[in-house]
Amino acid sequence: MDKDQIIPTHQVWDQLDTSRIPFWAYTDPGIYKRELEKLFYTNHWCYVGLEAEIPEIGDFKRTVIGERSVIMVRSSNDEIQVIENVCAHRGMQFCRKNHGNTDNFTCPYHQWYYDLEGNLLGVPFKRGVKQDGEWKGGMSKNFDTAEHSLTKLRVARRGGVVFATFDQGMESFEDYIGSDMLHYFDRMFNGRKLTLLGYNKQRIPGNWKLMMENIKDPYHPGLLHTWFVTFGLWRADNRSELKMDQHYRHAAMISTRGSAGKDKQTTNVSSFKEHMELNDPRFLDVEVEPWWNGPTAVMMTLFPSVILQQQVNSVSTRHIQPNGHGSFDFVWTHFGYEDDTPEMTQRRLRQANLFGPAGFVSADDGEVIEFSQQGFEQKPFHRALAELGGHEIGNTDHMVSETLIRGMYDYWRKMMEI
């Protein structure tokens, strides 16, 4: 075996279809750079935050699209702007706070300052200094501040969620996610104002796609997440569906537990298997909400940047922020709705103990992603398998399939031209 075979230097999809995924898709720094360009910086709407994070004019939040630092800000007229956090002068990432309120953005280096829309308002010593009645130095006479705004992104808002793109030719957000996914998006963000409950943040040493795949993989929850099984929450016979958009990039895993919340079998403090009971059943004190219209859990992946979570009463967005081929930050924003009672808020907070970096079920996911990446790195000529449910790509009415992963890589290959 020559060196090329152990650490492939040029990437060819030498597999029969996307039921086999070469490890180099997760380990090659060049592939990762191309992903940033083709998936995060062009052709896609990326998640930036919730309107509820910046309720007042002048409120801002610093976040990222791919690896590019951006600021989401509520400008005058109640518009939401997303601007790139790179000064037009010397390129400095001038905004250092995570969030705040301001009436302008000023780069500390040379005090260039911008309005909340990102327009350059002023440049110190633009005309130079006056000495002996004469102007000396300063910017060239034809320097036009209007030509030196911050990079302004296109913004899409829907149901209180904010997406942005550097790609000025991008299709509408609605066309981007497609009508089937839009249905589930609107179910969760149905126009009620959101209330911010807070954040959980973790750094996961694995390729960012593994998190997309984790939420496109209904095979693992009943096997990896012993907690689910122990307390009778996971049942293979739950009614469930897997759905994708027409490009197979986005997906929803939709499941419905019996008559949720009503009987003991489904609110589930007693396990069908080991008769384990929670000492405190409030972790799973589920109350059916009218907006569910049936499903008790809908997990959506909006490629490439965000996961939208409804797990019974716990709702959150999970933002994927890649930083290299082998690591990403995973930022959970938990929220509620304006008409939640204090009891409902408590319930959402208690159920949040299942999720996030310390969650009874989600802690497992971060760990397996780390160890998958370790396996890929030691054997980059090898490939992963996603053959559950066969080779085809399509929606299903059961959970025993890896079709969503095959679909994602079908789309990935087109975009990456691989």
Binding site: Q202, F283, H334, P357
Partner: protein, 156 residues
């Protein structure tokens, strides 16, 4: 506060940390009251008055469920913790309750690895005193890390 009481309080902090480091979970739970609050929360959420926490337990039942989770159900890389806990800073004493804080640093060591700084922050505590000793009525671990290093399994 008398020197005796302070020494007793200091021991209480060190005993609690030793129970975690030595994975003596029953002993750790013993340091809490039945109606306790135990929370591990980022400084960002805490400072902004956002209620979300990495972990938020109310009462002994939830502590027991968490211990069951970490010992029986959650899959995770094995690791050891070592705490370094400062002397407590007594804020106030209200009747039988001491309000105190202490800084902590938690080092994590995995198999094949070297010790990493895993979590750094401050305990914000309410300690119930009685003839039989001290118990935590409330402990909020406010951590400085903006990012948790992948997963947080054991108590802090």
């Amino acid at each position: 506060m008398t020197t005796d009481l302070f020494l007793q309080l200091n021991n209480f902090y060190q005993d609690n940390a030793a129970a975690i480091d030595q994975e003596r979970w029953d002993d750790w739970m013993e340091t809490f009251t039945d109606d306790c609050i135990y929370r591990i929360q980022s400084r960002e959420n805490f400072d902004r008055n956002l209620p979300m926490a990495a972990l938020s337990m109310e009462g002994m039942g939830m502590l027991k469920d968490r211990i069951y989770g970490i010992t029986e159900t959650i899959f995770h890389d094995p690791y050891h913790q070592t705490h370094v806990v400062s002397a407590p800073r007594v804020i106030s004493i209200e009747g039988e309750v001491i309000h105190a804080e202490a800084n902590y640093a938690v080092f994590r060591t995995k198999n094949d690895g070297i010790a990493q700084i895993f979590n750094v922050g401050r305990y914000i505590d309410q300690i119930q005193t009685s003839d039989t000793g001290f118990k935590l009525k409330s402990r909020i671990c406010v951590f400085d890390n903006d990012m948790i290093l992948n997963s947080l399994i054991y108590p802090i």
